[in-house]
């Protein structure tokens, strides 16, 4: 045991030194132990002694090799010293690189695939990572962003979400923030603005004390809000958003101090926000106009309308804030807590902002990592294959006296050339991808201007790919030269790859195929889904629709609304070019969805269901072009005596599956509210891009008319051209009524679909790169591996094997390896894509088309890659093949 340990230590020394002194050193220890030495201290000293001595011996052998003037001292006494060449180190490296470049030129296929794989891997990975990092992953641009939390109440009907605060709750939170540093809140509401050019409906955001300071916002002009602005009775002021100031006021600096009318009150514009301010989207939906929130002492206790945000003290936890919120709610309301308030609620702000997209992004990042992994495995298997093919060349060189270190350097030079070329092309690809992204990204994407190739990401990708190339480039070379030394000079021209190497290479190809298939399937599923989204069947005909949002609240009383809508409809139908008109609470892709509680027939005893409610005039179905599935659509004669309703297919699927709906009833969830009789079923209309049309109840306008609705016109084709006529009509029929927006439904749709379309392009591109890498990798490795079997094929043919049989066998073997990898990959894809189920809307995670497409492409690439070189090898004269350098 001790002897073996000593032999092991002696292996630290160079071989020649070992040959000369190894036995002596072993005998020395023998003597020492015979003399009674031993024990822990002896062995520890022994290890240290040999390690240091071996280091000195090795350093000295190098130092002497470098200095030519010490040749006289050497006098050839030690072979190991004579090894090092006398030439300058730099000149050696230049020679090595020239040699490496030449030898790469002899294998253009290998060089091409290796560089392409590296470039695609580095380029795609860095590009996608850079974009995601800038747009999504970077912390929100607020002080202490990682400590922000939504704060509010938990409502009985909406468990798990953070509901709005009431005025007294906010006041109490601000007075006693507890584990929070500060608490602010905001509330959006529609107002009618009159800046001297007639009324316009816009969205204003009321903000609490300290709101702008909380986000570190600064004014570009004038000032932001002060404490005094929040005092009831102080002069009313407003702050303009940067974009609104540019768009609506033409960036006029003289707006500061100007008076504007908001609803019935005169406000003075005191400031304009600086362009760097990012609206906290979760609590402030609109950023055009900001006005101070004023809470007087008697602020309504029962009105919950404020979206709250807290910044935790450093070290404070979310659960602590949650407890505090519960206490505040109990403290403010005591025993009189409204029945729907369960308690306080908090949620991590970042999680709320990222929401669903956060989980998608996690997977995209995983996919990015997988892509890089594929690229590395790809290159590794290419290099191993190349190394195996060069093994006999290196063995010959080694036998002819080339030092192992020198041979390793030759191979290293070649690897570095590949890594550098791949890195340069990859960096260029990353830059191109990011530039393309900036050109094609839809406007409004956050921080678009900041998107650039991420230096750290690029460095990481480059480092990983370099390490891979160097490791897998050198490994076979070291093994080859080590073996040559072992057989001491007899160069073996091996006809075939060794059994172990062949297995390792097959395993690598299979692994790489499997990973590539997993990634390609996931990406293809996502791309397929988004493609369907971009071309979704919406259930209605958006062409030629014109929608105007009109607000009657400022000019008419509740009893007048239905009549005014009727008058508007009548005049609109008379407009030349208009074929039909309707009024609805919501136009496709626009307006807010309103939900109310209902008890569908058969569920009377159960809890009331939240269902989207759409109040429409007659003709709604005809104007949109929605199909009537059962019964009839609402007509202009329908009103609330008797109360009738139309439901959509999704409603029937959810509550009355498989049974006729006409004639059944839906009771309102409110007490003393009517029970509606269902007169018809409409086909589902997807009015919000990328979302299922949930269950809907459509109620007739008469009896349920609201003040703020959409007037929707079906035109004979030139919808946009009719906009001025419609505006004039509204002014004529209902003078003083603001029209907040007139737009074609197609225009609204393209606005809403810009982002999904863009993501389609992004993921589609990613899927394409993944698939390309998979195909390139499988093709490159398999074809090169097959080509290195040329000699073997030649030998078999020379021995009389039938040509077709040999070629077929080679192809079959490659097909089996790729097929095995594909099968494993498909199984893995089924498992991993199950987690994508909630992201996919239009295809399922088992979408057969995506799986089949990927499997077919990868398998075809593998078989084709084996067939081409196998056929070539099989077509050559066997004698030629044998003479050729294996």
């Amino acid at each position: 045991m001790a002897d073996r340990f000593i032999r092991l230590l002696i292996r630290l020394y160079p071989a020649d030194y070992r040959a000369r002194y190894g036995d002596e050193m072993a005998r020395f220890h023998h003597d020492a132990r015979a003399a009674g030495e031993g024990g822990i201290r002896y062995w520890a000293a022994l290890v240290l002694d040999h390690a240091l001595a071996a280091f000195r011996v090795r350093r000295r052998s190098r130092a002497i090799g470098g200095g030519a003037d010490r040749g006289a001292v050497q006098q050839g006494r030690h072979r190991f010293l004579a090894r090092a060449s006398g030439r300058g180190v730099m000149r050696d490296w230049v020679a090595d690189f020239v040699y490496g470049a030449r030898s790469l030129r002899r294998v253009p296929g290998f060089a091409f695939f290796a560089v392409l794989t590296l470039a695609l891997g580095v380029g795609a990975t860095t590009g996608v990572f850079s974009v995601l990092d800038r747009v999504v992953l970077r912390p929100l641009p607020y002080p202490g962003a990682e400590r922000l939390a939504l704060i509010g109440i938990e409502a009985r009907h909406d468990p798990g979400s953070v509901g709005p605060l009431s005025g007294p709750l906010l006041a109490d939170f601000q007075a006693r923030p507890g584990p929070a540093e500060a608490v602010v809140a905001a509330s959006g509401s529609g107002v009618v603005l009159d800046a001297g050019a007639g009324p316009e409906a816009i969205e204003a955001t009321r903000v609490s004390r300290g709101f702008f300071g909380f986000f570190g916002a600064r004014p570009a002009l004038g000032r932001l809000l002060t404490e005094a602005d929040h005092e009831p009775g102080s002069p009313k002021v407003a702050v303009l958003g940067q974009e609104y100031w540019r768009g609506r006021f033409g960036a006029d600096p003289s707006v500061i101090g100007r008076s504007i009318r908001l609803d019935d009150d005169v406000h003075m514009i005191v400031g304009v926000l600086a362009p760097g301010f990012h609206r906290p989207s979760e609590i402030a939906e609109h950023g055009d106009l900001w006005i101070p929130l004023r809470l007087d002492a008697g602020a309504a206790r029962g009105t919950f309308f404020l979206a709250g945000l807290a910044r935790l003290r450093p070290g404070a936890t979310l659960p602590a804030l949650d407890d505090h919120a519960d206490r505040i709610v109990a403290g403010v309301y005591g025993g009189e807590t409204p029945s729907f308030v369960v308690g306080g609620a908090v949620a991590d702000y970042r999680g709320a902002v990222l929401g669903d997209i956060g989980s998608v992004l996690g997977r995209v990042l995983a996919a990015v990592a997988l892509l890089l992994l594929i690229a590395c495995v790809n290159v590794a298997s290419l290099l191993l294959t190349r190394g195996a093919a060069r093994a006999s060349e290196l063995a010959v060189r080694s036998a002819l006296g080339a030092a192992r270190a020198r041979l390793a350097r030759l191979v290293l030079a070649e690897s570095i050339l590949i890594a550098v070329a791949g890195g340069i092309v990859g960096a260029a690809l990353a830059w191109g991808a990011v530039e393309l992204f900036r050109l094609r990204a839809p406007p409004g994407l956050p921080r678009l201007a900041e998107v650039a190739v991420d230096g750290r990401g690029l460095a990481f990708c480059l480092a990983l790919s370099f390490a891979t190339v160097l490791l897998f480039g050198l490994l076979p070379a070291l093994r080859a030269t080590g073996r040559a030394a072992a057989v001491s000079g007899a160069p073996t021209r091996r006809a075939t790859a060794g059994r172990g190497e062949g297995r390792l290479r097959s395993a690598l190809i299979a692994v790489e195929t499997a990973i590539a298939v997993v990634l390609a399937v996931s990406s293809t599923l996502l791309a397929h889904d988004l493609l369907r989204l971009a071309n979704e069947d919406t259930g209605f005909a958006p062409e030629g629709l014109l929608a105007a949002r009109i607000d009657l609240a400022s000019g008419y009383d509740r009893e007048q609304w239905a009549g005014v809508w009727d008058r508007l409809l009548e005049s609109a139908r008379a407009l030349p070019g208009v074929t039909a008109a309707t009024v609805a609470t919501q136009a496709p892709y626009a307006g807010t969805r309103m939900a109310s509680t209902y008890r569908p027939e058969g569920m009377e005893g159960e809890q009331a269901q939240f269902v989207i409610t759409l109040v429409t005039a007659g003709d709604y179905a005809r104007v949109l072009g929605a199909r009537v599935v059962e019964g009839r659509a609402l007509e202009s004669g329908d009103d609330d005596s008797p109360p009738v309703a139309v439901v959509n297919e999704a409603f029937v699927r959810r509550y009355w599956p498989g049974t006729p709906a006409v004639g059944r009833t839906v009771a309102s969830g409110q007490e003393d509210e009517p029970v509606y009789r269902v007169v018809g079923v409409l086909a589902d209309v997807r009015t919000h891009a990328g979302q299922e049309a949930g269950p809907q109840v459509l109620l007739p306008l008469r009896g349920a008319a609201g003040p703020d609705m959409e007037l929707i016109l079906r035109t004979d084709g030139h919808a946009a051209a009719l906009a001025p006529a419609l505006r004039a009509l509204v002014r004529r029929v209902t003078p003083g009524t603001p029209v907040s927006r007139i737009a074609t439904v197609e225009g609204l749709a393209s606005e809403k679909r810009a982002l999904p379309r863009f993501y389609t392009a992004l993921f589609g591109g990613f899927a394409a790169v993944a698939l390309l890498l998979a195909v390139v990798g499988v093709y490159g490795t398999t074809s090169y591996a097959t080509r290195s079997r040329t000699r073997e094929i030649g030998i078999r043919l020379a021995l009389g094997a039938p040509r077709r049989g040999v070629v077929g066998q080679v192809v079959l073997r490659a097909g089996a390896v790729v097929g095995l990898g594909t099968a494993i990959g498909l199984a893995g894809a089924v498992l991993t894509s199950r987690a994508m189920g909630d992201v996919l809307v239009y295809v399922t995670s088992r979408d057969a088309a995506s799986y089949a497409a990927v499997a077919f492409l990868v398998l075809a690439a593998g078989v084709f890659a084996a067939w081409i070189p196998a056929r070539r090898a099989g077509g050559v004269d066997p004698a030629e093949t044998l003479r050729a350098e294996g």
């Binding site: 002596e24 050193m25 020395f28 020492a32 022994l46 002694d49 040999h50 240091l52 010293l81």
Partner: protein, 111 residues
């Protein structure tokens, strides 16, 4: 010249051809164990001294008891080594003389 080198050369000058373990024993005896030589350090020094032409490998002396296996390698001081050793000792002597003259060291009370 390092202490180890000096001690190895001294051992060879003093006791004629020695094998590796013999050198170690001789050095430790004379220095009362204050200079210890591990086999790695020892042979590293031996290789270096051989390269410098100060010592040389020689056949085992006739009176060495055979211990089975291949004969041990013995090392002998060459003239160049003896010369280098003398130079070093003279240099040390000069240093010691200087130190004494400046009263930097005293003779031990019982010489």
């Amino acid at each position: 010249m390092t202490t180890r080198t000096l001690q190895i050369l001294l051992a060879l000058a003093d006791a004629g051809p020695l094998h590796g373990y013999g050198i170690k024993q001789r050095v430790e005896e004379r220095t009362d164990g204050t200079v210890r030589l591990g086999s790695g350090t020892l042979y590293e020094a031996v290789a270096r001294l051989s390269d410098q032409g100060w010592i040389e490998e020689v056949d085992a002396p006739a009176d060495e008891p055979a211990s089975g296996g291949a004969p041990r390698r013995f090392y002998e001081l060459l003239p160049a080594g003896r010369d280098a050793l003398r130079q070093e000792l003279l240099r040390m002597e000069a240093v010691v003389r200087y130190a004494r003259r400046r009263n930097l060291i005293r003779d031990a009370p019982t010489g």
